[in-house]
Amino acid sequence: MKRYKPSITALNILIVLFIPIFLLLSFLTSYFLNAYPIIMWGIILLFWAVYIIFFMIFLPLYFKNTVYHVSKEDVIKYSGFFIKSQQYMKVSSVQYVTKLFTPFSKYTGFNFLKLNALGGDIVLLFLTKADAEAISSVIFSSIKNII
């Protein structure tokens, strides 16, 4: 059974990518709510509190705790921090695989796999391109042998 982790590059890109978005939101808030300074500052602080909690605390913990174990028989996903979950799916249950590769995903780590079974699915998030290809080929070869 091989072990895979989400790409740290993807986490760093997410952290950096949303800074200008939150800056823009802060600017728009200060522009439109200038007449109400208390409300304006309250909303701006709220935006940055959400950013810090989600992007600086939650997301790094999520990436740290998420592990995928893939073999010819099973796929296991460990994830979560406040609510930990372990998901198990037999490869023989997989009906089809959806691969999502975004532009420049070889460098960004924004590669996603969704393993679909009849009644459930497992989503593997933020894989490197090599990992995504390796996982999908293991599953395809197992499915072929089963058929």
């Binding site: 059974m1 296991i76 979560g80 609510i83 979950s85 198990y88 799916m89 037999k90 009849l118 009644g119």
Partner: protein, 481 residues
């Protein structure tokens, strides 16, 4: 391949609901004009034109929809602008249903529904309106006639059991929706008089009781009561003459009073069996047996029941005949009694908070104090019931395994479920722990079973280490967790 067409009555079906909304007022207009055709056409020529267009569109849809079947496949060709051809492998079929509606009987036709594990989850994959002679040919071809079922085992519930079943498992909401649709659409088709008669009668009954109980409370109670009664009647008519037979790989379910339905279920395609009980039926040692299979219990108002309410011993005996491979195993992992506080927490919190919230609401909305008091009183009753159900659930829920069959026991809202599922029908397993569960070493076990839409079963507050050991020993997964 000789392509067949559906019965011509299907043209009306294809003509959409607008057909009735237009045609009935048009015919009413003709009556008011005392059959003066020329005056009628002069006044309503546009509506008549639209109606003809709808009928012609329906005709084209009917004409370009053909089907055929052989030993291996079922073929459907449809569409006149955008053509499509569907080939369905016979061995993928999970359920074939034959429906003889009372309004189709004069036209010597009926409906055939075919379902598989794919397609949409809220309606059958294919639905045909065909002549009775074609239904007979279809049944002969697929070996669905009575003489094709040697060595049948059958079960016939009593009418009293069917009545209890309808009382206990009727859905008030569906009854309320049905009444409101009937009144609204009836008003549109037949005129406002019908709506006014209904509302006047409703107002008279409300005023009769409003001297003792607040008027709004009477209205709500009446709506719920009427909805529930209608749902009971619909369920009773649906399951009248209910019986179930098992022969070989087929499970055949018959039932219905005005509309007679027969379901031919491929027993190998049954995903799981579900023995359902409520708190009342547990006390009287009664239960009902349902199954989960794509195509059975899909339509509105239908319940996927095999054995309506009966005694537990009769359920066991009947299961040996009808579903012999399904065994109810002993539970090997269950929540510890100390978890009772977690089961009871949420309903207990609601019972404490409701009087507090209503007291504050009465203080600020004094005009509504009667209705707030009444609503709070009535809202507490289901939460008290839920508290008792959850406490019982703590002592009855769990999971067990024997001979490749898993038994899962858990509660959803007010119902107790005993799920019997083969390991091959388990698609995914999830162990979930929130922050407090991590500290106290327990978890929720969520088992996903084969279904068209995600169907899962949650057993709460199981001991974490024992559950992991159980999953490894039960060989659900080959690798060490």
């Amino acid at each position: 391949m000789e392509l067949k067409r559906q019965h011509p009555i299907k043209i009306i079906d294809y003509s959409s609901k607008s057909f009735w909304l237009l045609s009935i007022p048009l015919i009413r207009g003709l009556f008011y004009l005392q059959f003066d055709l020329w005056a009628w056409i002069q006044g309503a020529w546009f509506d008549i034109f639209v109606l003809l267009v709808i009928l012609i569109y329906g005709f084209f849809q009917w004409y370009f929809y053909t089907f055929d079947f052989d030993d291996l496949f079922f073929y459907i060709n449809k569409g006149f602008l955008f053509k499509s051809k569907i080939v369905l492998e016979r061995k993928k079929i999970t359920v074939i249903a034959v429906e003889k509606n009372f309004y189709l009987s004069p036209f010597r036709s009926g409906r055939v529904f075919i379902d598989t594990n794919s397609g949409t989850s809220h309606k059958s994959d294919f639905s045909l309106v065909v002549k009775n002679s074609e239904i007979r040919d279809f049944k002969i071809h697929y070996g669905l006639n009575n003489k094709d079922f040697p060595g049948k085992h059958s079960y016939y519930p009593s009418k009293l059991h069917l009545l209890y079943f309808s009382f206990l498992f009727s859905n008030t909401l569906s009854g309320v929706v049905f009444i409101s649709t009937l009144v609204y659409q009836g008003g549109k088709l037949l005129g406002k008089e019908l709506e006014l008669i209904f509302y006047d009668t409703f107002n008279q009954v409300t005023q009769f009781f409003s001297s003792v109980i607040p008027e709004a409370a009477v209205i709500i109670s009446l709506i719920i009561f009427c909805g529930w009664i209608l749902s009971v009647i619909i369920n009773l008519l649906r399951h009248w003459n209910f019986n179930v037979l098992r022969s070989g790989k087929n499970l055949i379910v018959n039932g219905g009073f005005l509309t007679k339905r027969t379901f031919y279920i491929n027993a190998k395609k049954i995903n799981y069996a579900d023995i359902r009980q409520s708190l009342v039926t547990i006390l009287f040692r009664l239960s009902s047996l349902n199954i989960h299979c794509s195509g059975y219990g899909k339509s509105k108002h239908s319940i996927a029941v095999i054995l309506p309410i009966t005694t537990n011993s009769q359920i066991s005996n009947a299961m040996k005949m009808l579903l012999p491979s399904y065994i109810i195993n002993k539970i090997s992992i269950n929540p510890t009694p100390s978890q009772i506080r977690r089961f009871a927490f949420m309903p207990f919190l609601a019972i404490i908070l409701l009087p507090v919230i209503s007291r504050y609401a009465i203080r600020y909305f004094t005009v509504w104090n009667d209705i707030i008091y009444f609503a709070a009183l009535f809202a507490i009753i289901p939460f008290v019931w839920l508290l008792i159900v959850n406490i019982v659930c703590c002592f009855t829920s769990g999971i067990g395994e024997q001979d490749n069959y898993f038994t899962l026991k858990y509660c959803t809202s007010f119902q107790f479920h005993t799920i019997l599922v083969h390991r091959d029908k388990i698609v995914k397993v999830k162990l979930s722990q929130n922050f407090f569960q991590q500290k106290s070493d327990n978890c929720n076990l969520i088992i996903f079973t084969t279904s068209e839409r995600g169907k899962y079963h949650t057993i709460k507050y199981l001991p974490y280490k024992k559950t992991k050991e159980f999953l490894i020993n039960a060989h659900i997964f080959s690798e060490q967790l």
